[in-house]
Symmetry: C2
Subunit: 415 residues, 2 copies
């Protein structure tokens, strides 16, 4: 048997124990892991350096190297996140439906763990601890498959997680790292329906695309955000500019950042120059349609492709529109159903936008940057779902649960 | 463009209208379709005969021909089911979460349609009306892809559904039949992520398996039920026998029928003969392990395969066990996570069974045959989910919904 099959089988074997674990047992394990992270900090940092040296030699970009880097303060943050997770309510066992049937059957639906979660991600070692702890809190076993460029860090972190688990009453097989980082093994994981209940890919568009296309295990798709902000005719000038600048520039590399602004032509007549001033002041490059170019010659021509692009940098596509209908049509054509905002003082238009735009999160007079498990108050986040099944938008602990029906009878048979 | 792409695009285009439709509009459409089914009964029956003639010539089994057959009373039942659907609460627009954030953002999560549902099913024309009406009630567009053996019936039924829709305020593109029943077209449908939000396969294990393996569109898996009943040492004799006879024989061909009985050896010592008497009286063939054979020589030897088989007929696998632990282990090994029952008067064993058995529905002292949307009081059922994401167990109207977050602000930006 391969490493993958051995570990997947083991994960599957401990699902019963994990599902039966009390909140106290799980919290104790999280606390022990948090302590182990702090006491093993030197070891983790030493191993991380091996990845950084290899990454530098392999010519990884500065951005990737930064994501790969662990520091004392980053490890402290991980440990602190674990202690915060202890405080969160345990969703397992919660009753989500109850009914007494005319034949006397008592029916209830309770939250249970999903079972075994396959986490497939790129070179961010913090995801290792993040995913392991969220899965533990919800009684799930997890198979972690990180990137080869973070293999020393991931092995060290899982070793430290195991130190914590060994002192706890939970099995160490709850968290396992697949050390074979070959593509073939990842693809075998996509098809491991016998042992895996769900796959969660986290990373770039091509990783997620590969999982969605090839997996037979159900997938929780996370990811791409081609987010729009529509500035309506009645939008408050100052508010519209502040929101757009925030959504575009506060952290351009993330999925809830704004990629296209749609500006109502009547608003543009009065305020387009101020908008462009504010954006250029922040270093934004504007690529617009012909009308936008006519309004302001600092805008450069956009290609069709630009409107379909998740730039993840300081580039912004700009389109001048004549109505909320045109806006809705544009978003339907180019949007990725992540986060979309309307800035307007016209109630009817807001309602129309909320009804007809299909996305995980719709905003009125606020920045798209709020689409986030912590900002929504969930206290944790395993990713942002851009699919419509199971969970949509920021996924907190509940997204890592399934349910079962418990039916109590006293001899009922079906006639 | 192929028929599939043309229709999928049209379906996708009307999702906005359907999502915005009021409960009244949808109920009116359902009522008009119900009336059209009754007024076009002769036409439907005439077209159905064409399928039956072709089916007979092709040598379809009596069972398949029966499933294919429409009669006046079956059409009346369809029409009546549509009227019942009108009475059910519309899940769309329901608020499932609300929060006010410290920064003043008002957050709520509302139920919305999934979008476009691809329904792939076998030779049962009643699924055509069933799926179309459940999708309509939940504001979803549906692409129906039935079997070639039911093509005349399906075309007729969709034509009649369109007659109803034409008189309503909803677009006829809400319900479309893919008339090309080739396997290639079905497989293209599996990959149509651009236009389809979910696939629901309904039919035999091989159809479902093919969809799960090949689809990149998210799947709501329905299906296989290798259901167990465990008769514990303390089970009431009469109750245990009644429940098992019911679960095995009341309708053996369905997924919630019992396929294996696990009998505690102490109970077996006292009551096994009566149990075998009752089952044989109903025509059941018992295939047991060695211990079962020792208890009663009317039991024939079971193969390993028998314990993994969904017989869907009057065959029952029998195993004598020594504990609830052994039972849980057996179900983990052979079960399909559908419906499992324990007959016992020992509270501790019931709790253990409920905690450690992983299935959509767990019963204490009741027949597994109750796993059904109508029996659970949902008033409708699109299938029984045997997966853990999105929906588990009988799927009513809520399983056909997704959600979106609506966030109201007054200028909030992220710092």
């Amino acid at each position: 048997m391969t490493e993958l099959i051995i570990k997947a089988k083991k994960a599957n074997e401990v699902t019963g124990l994990l599902g039966a674990a009390s909140t106290q047992q799980k919290n104790e394990a999280l606390t022990l892991i948090s302590e182990a992270l702090l006491s093993e900090m030197t070891f983790i940092l030493e191993e991380n350096v091996k990845d950084l040296v290899a990454g530098t030699q392999a010519g990884l970009s500065a951005g990737l190297l930064d994501r790969l880097t662990l520091t004392e303060s980053r490890i402290k943050e991980m440990a602190s996140a674990l202690r915060q997770l202890v405080e969160l309510e345990d969703p397992i066992g919660g009753v989500t439906f109850e009914a007494q049937r005319p034949n006397g059957l008592e029916l209830k639906r309770v939250r249970v763990p999903l079972g075994v979660i396959g986490m497939i991600y790129e070179a961010r070692p913090n995801v290792t601890v993040d995913a392991a702890s969220l899965c533990l809190k919800t009684g799930n076993a997890v198979l972690l498959r990180g990137s080869s460029s973070a293999i020393y860090s991931n092995k060290a972190l899982v070793q430290v997680i195991h130190k914590g688990l060994e002192k706890s009453s939970l099995p160490v097989e709850a968290v396992q790292l697949i050390e074979d980082t070959s593509r073939e093994t990842a693809e075998k994981m996509f098809k491991l329906n016998e042992y895996l209940d769900v796959l969660i890919p986290r990373g770039g568009a091509s990783l997620i695309q590969a999982v969605v296309e090839k997996a037979s295990v159900p997938v929780l798709e996370t990811g791409v955000g081609n987010c729009h902000i529509f500035i309506d005719e009645t939008a408050d000038e100052k508010m519209a500019i502040e929101i757009l600048v925030n959504a575009k520039t506060q952290r351009p590399s993330v999925c809830n950042a704004c990629e296209t602004v749609l500006v109502h032509k009547e608003w543009a007549k009065l305020h387009f120059t101020s908008l462009v001033d504010a954006l250029i002041d922040k270093g934004v490059e504007l690529r617009g349609d012909e009308l936008a170019l006519n309004f302001d010659n600092r805008v450069i021509p956009a290609s069709e492709e630009d409107f379909a692009t998740e730039f993840l940098n300081l580039t912004l596509a700009v389109k001048i529109v004549s109505s909320v209908d045109e806006t809705i049509g544009h978003i339907k054509k180019y949007g990725s159903k992540h986060s979309e905002a309307i800035i307007s003082e016209t109630k009817k238009h807001v309602e129309q936008f909320f009804t007809y735009v299909d996305a995980a999160a719709l905003y009125h007079n606020a920045s798209t940057r709020f689409t986030d498990g912590f900002e929504f108050g969930f206290g944790a986040e395993i990713g942002i779902s851009t699919q419509k099944l199971h969970a949509r938008g920021p996924m907190g602990l509940e997204a890592l649960t399934s349910s079962k029906y418990i039916i109590l009878g006293n001899g009922q048979i079906r006639s």
